[in-house]
Amino acid sequence: MAKPLEELTATAIRDAFLRRERSARSIVEEQFAILKEREVAVGAFLTVMQEEALARADALDRKLADGAQMGKLAGIPVAVKDNICTRGVATTCASRILEGYVPPYDAHVVERLIEEDAVIIGKTNMDEFAMGSSTENSAFKLTRNPWDRERIPGGSSGGSAAAVAARMAPLALGSDTGGSIRQPAGLCGVVGLKPTYGRVSRYGLVAFASSLDQIGPLARTAGDTALLLEAIAPRDGRDSTCTDREVPDYVEALEQPISGLTFGLPGEFFIEGGLDREVARALEQARRCYEALGVRFRDISLPHSRIDVEDGQLSSYAVACYYILCTAEASSNLARYDGVRYGHRSDERGDIIEMYSRTRGEGFGEEVKRRIMLGTHALSSGYYDAYYLRAGRVRRLIQSDFERAWEQVDLVFAPVSPTPAFRIGEKADDPLAMYLSDIFTISCNLAGICGISVPCGFSSEGLPVALQLMGRHWDEERLLAAAHAYQIHTDWHKRAPALEGG
């Protein structure tokens, strides 16, 4: 008797397909049976593409039968975050302003999925325009954490993380501007990787903050993460920041030895009151596991990513810097939603300025408006130097801290999130508290380096806890090898949330 689909890694699904043990149709049918059974409880998807996926599966079965060369992702179901354009399939960014928008083209990463013979099964929920850390900012639905349905899945790629955690998809794509892949992956107990800035083309990714945005993979294992990264990383001239470096063999890199590596422990991250006790304990255990694998730990300093605690209130230069830069960039990027070429247009009559203002006032949700306002203010005459320029200078200081760290260590070892998943509604009315949930993930984006979130334990309430590793520019191979070595020696990633019985 073959193993149930949900117990197979993406790599094993592909291999079963290529060995003709399972047809693509049977894989996709079983995947949709699981997806539909759990979607009511989890709410991970905005669009389910069953018809398209089954047609695609049949085409792949014929292609294999014809003896054609098959792609790296042959027969693997993949979920795609709804800010990544899919030709002919609604792409909303979880925003009313893009309700009904059907892109006339595929994003580069979607083209890559298709070229590698993956099967796209649906578009996942997210915080509107990727602005948020809980997926509560979606205009359309609530996504629940599969481990505790009273809690948020993290965000903004909360739908992708929840889908992978609930075994509704073995692989998913997300995007990460300040932690939007790593934080939900961590809170849902799956692996999430933010590639180096420039590693993956953003052509067809709806822009939020262009100097920070990056697309990346979510999966249950480091191996599957490597497989998906390898598929989406090839060069694309349509994003001028996309590198022309060769794509390394990330899957092969998994086996690179990690014994003898040095991990840096930023003292600024491990401070009293900055980290939930159970999170701190899980990280300490993970550290011992790495030491047993021959990794040396060394104290380092990232002074400009420092976390301060005053009267129980957290604050950080990196968070302050990020919320000026990302909102400034967003205020410019989101100027295109004007009700002319696509998306929502107000029914109210008036002149063109009135039409723009009403369209945008009606179409954008509260957090998006707040960020457009903040960014516009930061860029406005008289404030530019005080906010935008200063934030750019602090960004340089944050990056320089990492440059110094790389002289002493190979990777940086850090938390992903200060606490396990918080409750739905807990931070919904306090934007600042919500922004601080990204306190450990933001520096990686500001510095343009790569980072990975790996499950490393559970809280006493049964909520996933994760560790984060950050690496130099283009050092995804080492991140993946380190994550893989850890997963070989632990089984956190093998646990599944109990969702049966609704």
Partner: protein, 95 residues
């Protein structure tokens, strides 16, 4: 620098966002709190630090000056809220 309601209205105008009265009050309060948190950056001495705008190496990216394929007109217009005679239709701009 506390944010006044007048400033919120000015920024909303620059942002082309029509806000309700209740939103204006709320945003004034919230933007004030966020900007106060951002004041933390003033603790740092940033004199002489070159602002970091792009983490990728700054270089010109060239391509062949060759005509590519454009989106067919019907496809480009398919998502338009209003269209007329093969164009996007907007309210009157010139009186």
């Amino acid at each position: 620098m506390p944010i006044t309601r007048e400033q919120v209205e000015y920024v909303a105008h620059l942002s082309r966002l029509k806000l309700s009265e209740e939103e204006k009050d709320r945003f004034a309060r919230q933007l004030d709190a966020i900007l106060q948190a951002v004041e933390k950056l003033n603790e740092l001495d940033t004199d002489g630090v070159e602002p970091l705008v792009h983490v990728a190496p700054r270089r010109n990216v060239f391509r062949e000056d060759a005509a590519g394929e454009s989106l067919p007109r019907e496809e480009a217009l398919r998502n338009a809220p209003e269209q007329s005679e093969g164009c996007f239709k907007v309210p009157r701009i010139i009186e």
